[in-house]
Amino acid sequence: MPLKSIRQALNEALAQEMRRDPRVIVIGEDVAGGAGSRGQRDAYGGVLGVTKGLIGEFGEGRVIDTPITESAIMGTAAGAAVTGLRPVAELMFCDFLGVCFDQILNQAAKFRYMFGGKAKTPLVIRTMIGAGRSAAAQHSQSLYHIFTSVPGLKCVVPSNAYDAKGLLIQAIRDDDPVIFCEHKLMYDLRAEVPDEPYTIPFGEANIVRDGDDVTIVALSRMVHYADEAADTLAKEGIECELIDPRTTSPLDEDTILESVERTGRLVVVDEATPRCTMASDIAALVAGQAFASLKAPVKRVNAPHTPVPFAPSLEKLYIPSPERIAEAVREVHGYVDEAR
């Protein structure tokens, strides 16, 4: 199978779905770039090149550059979705949700329920998450917990190119609003990706590696750090089961619970800050539903409760590291439950 980067996988997913279904459109700031300029059209193809080339094949009517106007972009996408298109809108950085969240939170997410089941809002919002590029406090956040918390939204956090393609096609075909979170440090990450279209169902976790000692649930880029940590730990004789939920809403609760029922020990790794985010969500799930199997405290590995610092030296401390993950696993592994 051909090796493709996440960027390529996403681009391919978009192109294939646009070919298949004329109702699929792409809309956002510089998704092509150069609209009405003296230079080239498709000058950007998205700020990190994910939508490059689409305008050549599908034209200005379906690859729509917009002003800097996120509320109008999200509203346009929501309004178009509920009237018959299947828009893929781009929110360049998830940090920008602050200028457009109403159209997601109170409009797109709630139409179906408020209108008594009569609306369908097949909308995808592609957005970038993550720290690690010294992009500082307003361009580095991992805000998927906010989307996850909103009833009516689905939320996807792919960690590799194969999943990225299958999940994006699923998102486009899905009849509900989906937030698709791309980690900005992973676009060049390659994996084997089939040329033909395929889907990966939402709510089905990927078991990245098997192990009986400790369960690690990790999200997005943290899957790779957790895998690194697991390699180290394997050499120490600790076998980790690594679970990548792939979608935070719906969340594959069963796979997580089954694993913890077997291992009795859980570490959750999430690049987001610690309060009211996914690590606490999963920890609470397990504390409520797999308590009988738990042999150690549930450990969370998060960024600290701070904004993302600019300086690379601080940012490196900010992002959970393989070392911190390994340390957390060692802790829960070495924990002796005196009562049990």
Partner: protein, 322 residues
């Protein structure tokens, strides 16, 4: 444009339906039959009907928190609406939306909206669907004078111009957003003029005069349908009730509402106009009134008798699939 007798009767019937609907809602609300908050449209009927009389079922509107009038003008069934306001299973939204979220996608009514400024961006989306799928449909947003100051509304106007979409922005200037006069809240004191600055044709018309609204809307809708882009219309109008049922209206001048009802009642204006011009006689107009009265009575009876939603509706329809 000369309206046919049929068209005149339809317009009058829609306006009277709105008026009587709202009067009755006020009544039923005070009697406790309607939960939540209701914002009544009485006094502004010419705006909704003047605009929507140019729209067909394929066209879209997005409304505000004050959405009953737009819904009726766009063809929603008053009985189903009333059932919704009464929070009944058989309501337009199964009792889950209520007054502030009343919607009817089958009739191109994209919903009342509890968020001031929530509708205009959605309308751009509906207009984009029309353009992309070659549907020749038009999308209209209704926004208040208060909502005209919301950033989302401005963004929607700019976007509509940039993409040359078949959209119409109707600003219902009923003088107040809650208790704040538009002269205070709209810095320029000129909603149409400000809209024009966004690069779209914009006019201000009197909402007392159905015919003035109708004519301005005809131009705007035709322009949109012809592919010539968006327009804006500011309708100078007034509300006969408070911001919501229960508003003490202390911000109003003494006698303000009484005088509005006397001088600025679009229904009275309409009757006078068509009578003086010999277009419709009193008997025909009165016949509409009784027809509507029966309709509204029926709506309330059905609404009262209808069952509440089933308990399992709580968890249904959050997603299409999950």
């Amino acid at each position: 444009m000369q309206l046919s007798r049929e068209q005149l009767l339809t317009a009058y019937r829609d306006m009277v339906t709105i008026r009587r609907f709202e009067e009755r809602v006020q009544d039923e609300f005070s009697k406790g039959g309607i939960p939540g908050f209701v914002h009544l449209y009485a006094g502004e009927e010419a705006a909704a009907v003047g605009v929507c009389s140019h729209l067909g079922p394929q066209d879209y509107i997005a409304s505000t928190h004050r959405g009953h009038g737009h819904s009726i003008a766009k063809g929603c069934d008053p009985a189903q609406m009333m059932q919704e306001l009464f929070a009944k299973k058989t309501g337009l939204c199964g009792g889950k939306g209520g007054s502030m979220h009343i919607a009817d996608l089958d009739r191109g009514m994209l919903g009342a909206n509890g968020i001031v400024g929530g509708g205009p961006p959605l309308v751009i989306g509906a207009a984009l669907t029309a353009k992309t799928l070659g549907r020749n449909a038009v999308a209209v947003s209704f926004t208040g004078d208060g909502g005209s100051n919301q950033g989302t509304t401005f963004e929607a106007m700019n976007m509509a111009v940039v993409l040359q979409l078949p959209a119409v922005f109707v600003f219902e200037n009923n003088q107040y957003g809650e208790g704040t006069p538009y002269e205070y809240a709209v810095g320029s004191r000129d909603i149409a003029g400000r809209a024009a600055g966004f690069g779209l044709p914009a006019v201000k018309v009197s909402g007392d005069d159905f015919f003035a609204v109708h004519e301005a809307a005809r131009e705007a809708v035709e322009r949109a349908r012809a592919g010539d882009g968006p327009s804006a219309i500011e309708v100078d109008t007034c509300r006969f009730y408070g911001h919501h049922s229960g508003d003490a209206q202390l911000y109003r001048g003494k006698d303000e509402v009484r005088r509005l009802r006397e001088d600025r009642d679009c229904l009275k204006h309409f009757r006078r106009r068509v009578s003086e011009a010999g277009l419709l006689d009193t008997a025909a107009l009165d016949a509409v009134e009784s027809e509507v009265a029966a309709l509204i009575n029926h709506a309330v009876e059905v609404a009262r008798a209808a069952p509440p939603p089933d308990a399992d509706a709580l968890l249904r329809d959050v997603y299409v699939s999950y």
